[in-house]
Symmetry: C2
DNA sequence: TTATCTGCAAAGCCTTTGCACTTAG
DNA sequence: CTAAGTGCAAAGGCTTTGCAGATAA
């Protein structure tokens, strides 16, 4: 049993699919979990490289895909264009407040909005699978 | 004075910037306005080509950028990955309901949700610039 | 042992850019 | 006339893929 539940989840996912628990995959997961920032593959690559010099960017891309498949990470397509990844394990559905100055991303949730979104979909006879909402603006620190 | 207000808007925008009213720019605008679909640059290129065989994809990209700058088009970054463009002139802010089966995109608006979004931002001391909301699901026709 | 994984470099998308020729003003 | 635009092809980002050597099971 690992210290982190996320490591168990990845391990079990890999085993169940007949995939291997490689050192690199664990390294990537650990570094990914160390920061709450919403990283790009390139940023994550730079961080992993600090500790494991030889890691290749292809392994980062491949591992991020695995992490998404087993529910540990989630892809985030923000308007800045770059694809970013956030932690998914233990994080319920949430929306994002994004500072257009410093790039900070806040995770927020409003049950009332969620309810209205569902009603809106129903009104148009859409069977909701998922939704996303992002508010872009300037945070308090940057406004000063 | 042109038949379409959009043509006037483009013309005036170009003149004001010292840019030229080329035939191609008008061609692209006209074909863009002919369909309510949310097109990718490649799809628009194919449509324009039907009428103006020699148009190049670079001109499509360049013209779409101009149309965005003068408020006639708006870039749409949906989860499918492809960048799409929608009409912007005469269309107020709205959100999107997207069918994950047939790709249909409905433009919707809910004033109550808009209000709550603004409150949510204020609660976190964010000064809202804009926001986006997309609901992905299955439309009535596809559900049948 | 052997199927999978890794790092590398090459290849693939989509989008932008440089260039020589063309055109609007 | 000449600054700006066009189509083409080449170049740029980001992401994926093919491959030969490495490794988990």
């Amino acid at each position: 049993m690992n210290f982190k539940p996320e490591e168990d989840i990845l391990e079990k996912y890999l085993s169940s699919k007949g995939l291997k628990n490689s050192q690199q995959r664990l390294d990537v997961l650990r570094v990914f979990l160390e920061t709450e920032a919403h990283l790009t593959p390139e940023e994550l690559h730079a961080l992993v490289k600090k500790k494991f010099k030889t890691i290749g960017i292809a392994t980062i891309y491949r591992t991020l895909k695995l992490l998404c498949n087993c529910g540990l990470a989630k892809e985030l397509l923000l308007e800045s264009g770059a694809t970013r990844y956030e932690h998914s394990y233990g994080h319920n559905h949430h929306d994002h407040l994004i500072c257009t100055q410093c790039g900070k991303v806040l995770e927020v949730i409003d049950p009332e909005i969620e309810k209205l979104q569902e009603q809106l979909a129903r009104k148009h006879q859409f069977y909701t699978e998922r939704h996303r909402m992002e508010i872009y603006g300037v945070c308090r620190q940057c406004k000063k």
